[in-house]
Amino acid sequence: MAETLLDIAMMHSDSLIARAREGDKNAQGKLVQLWYKRIYNFSYKFFFDHDLAMEVSQKTFISMHKNIARLQEVTRFKSWLYTIAVNYCREEARKKKNNRALSLDNMRPGESEESYRWEESHHRRENPERQLRHSELSDILQKCLMELSAEQREVVIMKEYEGLKFREIAETLNISENTVKSRMYYGLEGLKKILEEKKITKETIGYEL
């Protein structure tokens, strides 16, 4: 994954975190701007649902505002923030399990020209057909991720998409590093089987891309 300016800014935001911890509203706002996309994407990949991802992201940053003063080590901000997000994800998952109402958002429009996926595309300069195929593949893989257990899914997302180290994931989830690695190993193995079942091979992906 190529590092963007945002990633670099996130990595060198220690002073920003320190200021936010001291109550600097401006610094807190900047932290939200820096981390919102990451937390949203983490939640989105966890639920594969935009509304739930938005809900979790907002709750996470509200909680961050309230509790950042209690953060003891600046270097642990990342795992601390993901801990909040994971807790809200679990809470929402529990609510979702208890209340299986059909969300209107689940009723996605068909793959027509009016499809919002065209609107979603941020690589406007790329070939639209190629972009649409990429988006479809992304959704298929996202569905495969949803077939994993929540425990394995959160580890796989944190490692594969959020780029956390195993140590950081262990800190975030408050479990041992070995458990994290084991969940990751079996998560990948599970995904391998799911991909094989769905006949997603090197060749098909090569053709798609």
Binding site: A53, Q142, K192, I200
Partner: protein
């Protein structure tokens, strides 16, 4: 080499999170075990496929936090609860006062009254009968009752035995009469039945003999006719046989005649030559 990395080590190797020494150990192990290497490569491939999932673009919404929010004592939930309970109690007390409610609990009785009206005490009823009197009354009534019951019972028993004996006598008489009529009737019926049975049998026998005699007659007649026909046929056949014999004898005689004639003719035609030969 006994080193075998666990899943944790393998996954750390895949993500490049092992120390150089550990990584070289795992590397050597994978070179020695191509199957494990293949397995890890397939996980690496899965990892690469997963990388195809795109991030969603999202704009962070403004989040406003009001940290200076001070909750006043009047807004405190505990205060609100206590106040509501107090208000309810006050309301009940005022209502009770206005309605003149009186609540009494005496001798296991709860009395709630409004408008302060006193309840009139119910006058005590003096007992006119003593316990002994009641006992005597009960005993006398029981004695009377027992007497009445015993007299009634003996009378009933008498009546019952009389009626039973009377009924039994009546019934036995009836049964005797019935038995008698039944036996008489049965003797006459048996006689009649036997007579009718004899008549029937006689008739049946007559019919049978008549029928069988006619049948036998028919049968013997048929037999005689058949026998005469048989004799006729036999005679005809014998005659035919005789005729054929006679004809065959005739034929034979004719043939013999012809042969004799031929022989005679031949003898007559050749005596001279034979004589000449014999003379020499």
């Amino acid at each position: 080499m006994n080193y075998k990395p666990d899943e944790g080590a393998l996954i750390s190797y895949l993500y490049g999170e092992l120390s150089a020494a550990e990584a070289s150990k795992v590397h050597a192990y994978l070179e020695a075990n191509p199957e494990e290497l293949k397995k890890l490569q397939s996980l690496g491939y899965t990892k690469n496929v997963l990388a195809q999932v795109q991030d969603k673009e999202v704009i962070a919404p403004p989040i406003f936090m009001d940290d200076t929010k001070v909750v006043s004592f009047w807004q405190n939930s505990y205060f609100k609860t206590v106040m509501s309970i107090a208000a309810s109690l006050l309301f009940i007390m005022v209502a009770g006062k206005l309605l003149g409610t009186e609540i009494n609990y005496t001798e296991g009785e709860l009395k709630i009254s409004f408008s302060g009206k006193k309840e009139q005490p119910t006058p005590l009823i003096q007992p006119s009968l003593t316990e002994e009197k009641v006992q005597e009354m009960i005993q006398s009534s029981l004695a009377n009752n027992n007497e009445v019951i015993t007299t009634n019972w003996t009378e009933d028993q008498k009546r019952l035995s009389q009626s039973i004996s009377y009924n039994l006598a009546q019934n036995s008489k009836k049964i005797d009469a019935l038995m008698k009529t039944a036996s008489d009737a049965s003797q006459e019926q048996v006689r009649g039945f036997v007579a009718s049975l004899q008549n029937d049998n006689l008739k049946l026998m007559k019919d049978y003999f008549q029928l069988s005699a006619a049948d036998q007659k028919k049968y013997t007649e048929g037999l005689l006719v058949d026998f005469s026909e048989y004799l006729k046929e036999q005679r005809r056949q014998d005659l035919m046989m005789l005729q054929t014999r006679v004809t065959s004898i005739e034929k034979n005689t004719d043939q013999f005649k012809q042969e004799t004639e031929q022989i005679l003719a031949s003898i007559i035609s050749s005596p001279v030559s034979k004589i000449n030969k014999n003379s020499y």
